[in-house]
């Protein structure tokens, strides 16, 4: 601690030191101000019940050649009963821009009204802007009851 008495170069170091301390304090202060602010802006993760299977109702209540949106946790799932009496289930979230798709009986296809995207009944994107096929779900018949489960 003999810097002060000796030379001017040491005085500058002393000043530099103060600059760093005060600058650092300023940065810390700003950071401590911004951190809670930005944290606040991030919405908290809601605890979600992990859903792996839902009951979609009785087979008799699902008309042929129709599509129904089923609540799968907080995601919509489209259950299609085709004209050939096949049961298929897909995520109803269009892979293009997040709209909810529907079954269009006159086309025999799954259709997204937002940008005219079309998927066949295997969930493959066949025309329009969707970049990927729809995510598929498994349909299980337990007697009369229709169950939808995740593929894995």
């Amino acid at each position: 601690m003999n810097a002060g008495i000796e030379s001017t170069s040491n005085v500058t170091t002393k000043r530099d030191f103060l600059k760093y301390v005060l600058g650092g304090a300023l940065v810390t202060w700003v950071a401590s101000l911004l951190y809670p602010l930005f944290s606040y802006l991030q919405p908290p993760r809601q605890a979600e019940v992990e859903v792996t299977s839902v009951n979609a109702g009785r087979l008799a209540d699902i008309p042929k050649d129709s599509g129904t949106i089923i609540r799968f946790g907080n995601k919509p799932v489209l259950l299609v009963r085709s004209s050939t009496d096949q049961l298929r289930a897909f995520s109803a979230v269009c892979t293009h821009l997040d709209c909810t798709v529907q079954y269009k009986s006159d086309l025999g296809m799954i259709w997204c009204a937002c940008h005219n995207g079309k998927y066949d009944l295997n969930g493959r994107n066949v025309s329009g802007p969707p970049p990927r096929p729809l995510e598929e779900y498994r349909v299980i018949l337990k007697g009369e009851e229709v169950h939808i489960t995740t593929m894995t």
């Binding site: 991030q42 949106i69 919509p76 909810t100 937002c114 970049p131």
Partner: protein, 353 residues
């Protein structure tokens, strides 16, 4: 009255203001008619503030109550339908007049030195106006708004790096939910109006301090004519405002706003989802870009192109040096013409297809 004026004059000298107004002139030339569009935009903004505050008295910004509260305004509150319809129509007319104002400023090169800051604040208000439109569109919480917001925020989400956090910030979560509504409500009635007022203040002060811009060359013309701002131009302005108010009333009475069906996260998107008309040209362009271009997602490419184009447009005073030097710059005219034609063409395409 005289004593009142004297009372104020003693405390805040009004003499300067009176002198300033007395000496303020509006130049007359072939493009003078465009001067009115800034004023009309200002008037429409004032209408938005007033009708917006009125709507706030009954609107409830929550998932359970938003749609119902608008239904209440439309059916139960006396003249509620009128206030809401005027708010919707004034929003649309505002965007229209703002676009006309912006393009007239562009083609007259009124952004050139020394008015760069006026241009920048104006562009800021244009973007805020779009933000107002996008956030306000969701507030009735109907099907169309719900899916339009899903699409709009999803488009923001495809941006590289910042896209995903931005989308979550906008939506208040992974999906469009009541949390999104709360946020948009806050943006629409607090954040945007606050920012807009600051920009508007700067914009107006600059216009007053610097006076009206004149097209390059015409300020030096020997037969330059002017009109006193007070009262001649101001009265013309007010007359036009009155006309616009009447147009608003006619539109609101004969084409009142609809409410549609309440948003349902577990219903399929209805046909006819489209954004407000001033977003259509971008929306329509995205449809024509293939889903993969080289190594990029078509959407990402589209958004980045629009982003870059918007930035170039915003900074035109800084790359169009010629106009600032008083030379003619035809390139800027051609770019402007191309942009106008592009927007008009794609808006029409988006409307009819």
């Amino acid at each position: 009255m005289k004593r009142l004026v004297a009372w104020f004059d003693e405390r805040i000298p009004l003499q300067g203001l009176v002198e300033f107004l007395g000496k303020k002139y509006v130049p007359l030339h072939r493009g003078s008619v465009w001067y009115y569009f800034g004023g009309v935009s200002l008037f429409l903004f004032i209408v938005q503030v007033i009708t917006g505050i009125l709507l706030l008295l009954y609107y409830k910004g929550s998932e359970q109550l938003a749609w119902e509260s608008i239904q209440f305004i439309m059916s139960k509150v006396r003249f509620g339908w009128l206030i809401r319809s005027i708010h919707t129509w004034a929003a649309n007319l505002f965007m229209l007049t703002v676009f006309i104002h912006m393009f007239s400023v562009f083609f007259e090169k009124a952004y050139r030195k020394p008015r760069e800051l006026t241009w920048l604040t104006g562009m800021g208000m244009l973007f805020l106006g779009m933000g107002f439109g996008f956030s306000g569109y969701l507030l009735p919480w109907n099907e169309l708004a719900f899916f339009a917001t899903k699409v709009g925020t999803d488009i923001a989400g495809v941006l590289p790096v910042i896209g995903k956090p931005l989308m979550i910030f906008l939506r208040g979560g992974e999906d469009v939910t009541g949390a999104t509504l709360s946020r948009f409500f806050g943006f629409h009635v607090a954040v945007f109006p606050g920012l807009f007022t600051v920009l508007l203040g700067i914009h107006l002060i600059l216009v007053q301090r610097q006076g009206m811009s004149e097209p390059p060359g015409s300020d030096a013309a020997p037969n330059r004519r002017v009109m006193p701002f007070f009262p001649n131009f101001l009265l013309r302005d007010l007359l036009l405002w009155l006309l616009v108010l009447n147009v608003l009333a006619i539109l609101a009475v004969f084409f009142p706003s609809e409410l549609g069906r309440k948003a349902d996260a577990f219903a399929s998107a209805p046909a006819g989802i489209r954004p407000e008309w001033y977003f259509l040209f971008m929306f329509q362009s995205l449809k024509y870009i293939p889903s993969q271009v080289l190594f990029m997602d078509g959407e990402v490419l589209g958004i980045m192109l629009f982003g870059i184009a918007g930035l170039l447009w915003m900074f035109v005073p800084f790359w169009d040096r010629k106009s600032s030097r008083g030379e003619t710059n035809r390139v800027v005219n051609y770019i402007g013409l191309f942009v106008v034609l592009y927007i008009v063409l794609f808006t029409i395409l988006g409307w009819v297809l």
